[in-house]
Amino acid sequence: MWERILNKKIYIITLAVFLFQACLSQSAFAFPEYTSRQKALALAAVLDHGYFKAIKISSVFVKNRGKEDYYLQAILDDGSSRKWLLNRIREWTQTDELILSNNRALVFPSAESTDFGVLEKNDFYRSVLTATAFVKTYGRHDILEAKSLVLGVQRFRILEPEDSKFLSTDKLGDRYRYVLELENGTREFFTYNDAFALLQRSAFLAEVPENVKVLRKTFKVIELKKIPLQIEDELRDIWRFGIEVVFDGPIETSPDSFPYQVVELKLKDPETGRYKAQFFLQIIFPNSEKTGAISGFKNHEYLRFVELDTDVEHQKRVILRAMVNPDALNLPPFIEITGRNSIVVNFYSSTDQSLTQPPDLLASRAVGQLPRSVFTPDQQETEFERNYMEAVGLIREAQAQLNSDDRIETYFIALKALKQAALSAVVDIQIAQALKQRDILLRTMPKLIIRNVQMSILALNLESTDTKADPEFSKKLLKQLIHAERYATTREQQLKITTLRSILR
């Protein structure tokens, strides 16, 4: 075996493979050496009268290799003439070997394209020094991607040798130059590229618009509370429970700033010694802090080991974490901001597997690019959408009503709205969804009506044995029973309806 390992050929092959990979990765991701004529001309004008390695640039010309590939030729003050390829220009700007005149900096926002920009450093300083708030927009692949928080500005500084990121670079190889200290205790480090992009985005606000809330301090978590299980949707048998995260003050941001993610971890089973996948549901709270020990819970419905942790990778973020069984997680969590300085994370449970299983409907056959939702992608409200949203609104309104008689009446109105929606549908998915919701309602209503009539008769009996029931009320209940009879699915329901009708008569 050792003979084989020490065999020279193995070394040669390994080296060759490594070199091939290195070459291929270079050609695939390297910054281009040449650019278009238009960009080359513009870049030449920008570089004119700048400095290359402390030597003044006398003039810059545009040259080409083929029809499309342009590069620059620079004449320096020492009389030398140099061929400047685009990748080299980028490298020199990153290491400050190439400096523009008039306190400007050349930036290449993309590592793949020769598009460039010129950062007017004086404009940047003026903008950042007069700013009272900074609009922090989260980058790609962050859980808060493209979301923005408006944070109060405390101090701006140019990086100095004692700063942690002095002379260090970002993933594009650009040096960090500036640091912005914010009132919530976070620090933002900027490269010239960042500064250029932030100026473009108007991320520094000298005056904050009236409707914008500036976050000047973090939200500090005080405690976690359990919210017990309760019915959310009687039609689909969906139950809701929650965890309330109580903070030290009002939460001045929208619920969409608190996203969730599911993280899979392979943990070693202490009994078997094997690695087993465990899933953790995490709710992220930006601009938040955990200042003391917050007790979590070992169990809460299908959540296990509920705890609040500080995010070690991001500044001022806390994570509400719970272990979940992926089979129990049918619906995503829903965030609600309350008026009592807290955020409620709602979780849903249901034993109805049809919620996530594809139905055997012709409309569900995915031939080509069928729409995924009942709504048209162009954000225009159609007649169907108006009717359908009205029906959904009525169903939700009914579910919140405590009086079961009112609830049934609202369901009747929702049925009418669903009929209207079905009549105005223009594609299969719309009519399929309208009819599906109608059928769910019709399936549940006999049960609800029977219970309502039973409770109404019981209430009348309890109130008084002498007084007769209001004939209008009886008529209404009878009407409900007629409806229930039409859609009763079991023999037991039919029998109950007949008995109740005879009692009411």
């Binding site: 050929k9 092959i13 060759a16 291929l24 990765s25 695939a28 960009k39 001309l41 513009a42 290799r65 083929g66 499309e68 926002p109 590592a111 598009d115 460039f116 920009g117 010129v118 609009v135 790609r140 692949h141 991607e145 493209a146 923005s148 473009q200 985005r201 409707n211 959310e232 689909r236 929208s254 996203p259 969730y260 993610q261 599911v262 993280v263 899979e264 971890l265 996948a277 899933f279 997680l329 049918n330 995503p332 829903f334 849903y348 919620l355 299983q357 594809p358 995915a366 690019q369 995924r372 939702s373 709504f375 992608p377 162009d378 225009q380 949203m389 939700r396 998915i429 969804q433 919701q437």
Partner: protein, 304 residues
């Protein structure tokens, strides 16, 4: 013999790496046909065909020689010569908006041996219309440009030369306005009433690992080894629609599965079946409209 086998292995390895590289780098668009239509007084020019939404940011729109002319460069694009044989179009279904449109396909070979292909089309409008890429109406099957009357100011690196760098992205700072439709879609229970179940899951596999062929290997593993298990558990057909590398050269420590709001369950099943550790996140709101797939898997550094 030993020497021969090692040389052969080396050659095969080189061929495999080259093939992987070409697969990951050479994706693009194909123009089949175009349509011009008016939607709420805004005219739209839509190209139908096959598109890579990840390459939309590379589309370059510039003003032509006159104020009524706009030139659009679509990199990595071919024209389907059978379906779209004409190069100069002067008759439009919707009269009064466009005067002329000319298409030009350019295929060049660089000194490195790489093939560059692009399509340039120039549109002359009767009024002073300017073309703006409409990402909301663009996906893997169509590419839409809105014809706006007033020219949108582009952010320029060097204003005098009019070079376009990026479009300015201004964050919405005020309180978020949620429409009734969004409200309905945001709540998990009401969203159940808005989405349909379907029997095919369109998956894109993108490379976000330092290993060049990771997306390809991942897709092969998904398609050949795990497909049946996944399909059986999800009750949906698994359809890999795209395999490519990530444009911004992002390296993710863990494989990330982005899913649409109604597809948490499907994403969980995928994560359970796939080897290694995964992170699952709903598709960010900013990318929601651009995504033509149901699930996007970014293969991370942890995939071996």
């Amino acid at each position: 013999m030993k020497q021969f086998s090692s040389t052969l292995a080396l050659r095969l390895l080189f061929m495999f790496l080259s093939a992987t590289l070409s697969l990951s780098a050479n994706s693009g668009h194909m123009l089949d046909r175009f349509e011009l239509f008016v939607d709420k007084n805004i005219p739209y020019l839509t190209f139908k065909g096959f598109f890579d939404p990840g390459k939309f940011p590379h589309i370059n729109i510039t003003q032509g020689s006159s104020k009524t002319e706009t030139t659009v460069i679509l990199p990595n694009t071919f024209i389907n010569n059978i379906l779209l044989p004409e190069r100069d179009i002067t008759s439009f279904a919707l009269s009064g908006i466009l005067d002329k449109m000319s298409l030009a396909e350019k295929i060049t070979k660089t000194e490195n041996g790489e093939i560059n292909f692009l399509v340039t089309f120039t549109v002359s409008s009767k009024e002073k219309h300017f073309l703006v890429l409409d990402t909301k109406r663009s996906d893997s099957r169509q590419l839409t440009f809105a014809l706006q009357r007033k020219q949108i100011k582009v952010v320029s690196a060097v204003a005098s030369e009019g070079m376009q760098i990026t479009s300015p992205v201004k964050a919405e700072l005020g309180p978020v306005k949620i429409t009734p439709r969004e409200q309905l879609l945001l709540h998990p229970v009401t969203a159940l009433m808005a989405y349909r179940h379907f029997d095919q899951l369109n998956v894109a596999v993108l490379n976000a690992s330092p290993n060049l062929g990771a997306a390809q290997s991942f897709a092969v593993m998904l398609d050949r080894k795990q497909k049946r298990t996944i399909e059986k558990r999800m009750g949906m057909k698994l359809n890999i629609v795209n395999i490519s590398s990530v444009r911004e050269q992002t390296i993710l420590p863990k494989t990330k599965i982005y899913f649409h709001a109604n597809l948490l369950k499907a994403a969980l099943i995928l994560a359970e079946v796939l080897p290694g550790e995964q992170v699952l996140e709903p598709v960010p709101e900013s990318r929601n409209n651009k995504l033509s797939t149901d699930v996007e898997i970014y293969v991370g550094k942890n995939f071996e």
